[in-house]
Amino acid sequence: MEILGYLILGCIGAGMLFIAVKFTILIETPIIIHGGITENKKYISAINSITNVIFNVVLVFISFVEWPLGMIVWYAVAEFLLIPVSEILAYKAISKADIKKIIKTTYSANMLSFVAGSLFVFMLMAVLSAF
């Protein structure tokens, strides 16, 4: 019985990550496709998954050591520099589009997902704090 409880909790942990990744993919995929970079949905999903997973795992580890400044710095550096740059390089490897267009589209997709994700977390916190 105990094992079942642990399994359910583990599924909740994995589910939280899957929801975060799916949310990013849902926002970014249409922008990348309509931006004319690539139409390969599998590739876009894979790139977004890998960047989002690394971002979230590091964020969770920093939150465990209770270092708020580190969390803010990581959030800013990752969202504004590491994730867009790595995605630009990844799309450049597969796309024939102009590099300026890739940079512009990738940055706008990432900024939109950043704003939407932040709003989502903010609203979740507000709802949770009500209880």
């Binding site: 409880g5 642990y6 399994l7 909790l9 583990g10 599924c11 909740i12 942990g13 994995a14 589910g15 939280m16 990550l17 899957f18 990744v21 390969n40 599998k42 590739y43 999903s45 894979a46 790139i47 998954s49 890998i50 997973v53 690394i54 979230n56 795992v57 969770v60 990844a90 490897a93 597969i94």
Partner: protein, 59 residues
């Protein structure tokens, strides 16, 4: 693992029984997504190169 060792180290019940399993699930999910994504990226890049080569040969 004997959880009493963690308890002696000052880690509370809530962390051992609730946060621990959630975190382990989170890490397993992260590992799964990472491996899956790496495999997909490698395959898609390989496909892209192959189709590019084919196009060049045709032209």
């Amino acid at each position: 693992m004997n959880h009493f060792i963690l308890m002696d180290a000052g880690i509370g019940n809530f962390v051992v029984f609730i946060v621990g399993p959630i975190f382990v699930g989170f890490l397993i999910g992260a590992l799964y997504l990472t491996v899956k994504s790496i495999l997909v990226i490698r395959r898609e890049l390989k496909n892209e190169k192959a189709s590019e080569k084919e196009n060049n040969e045709q032209s």
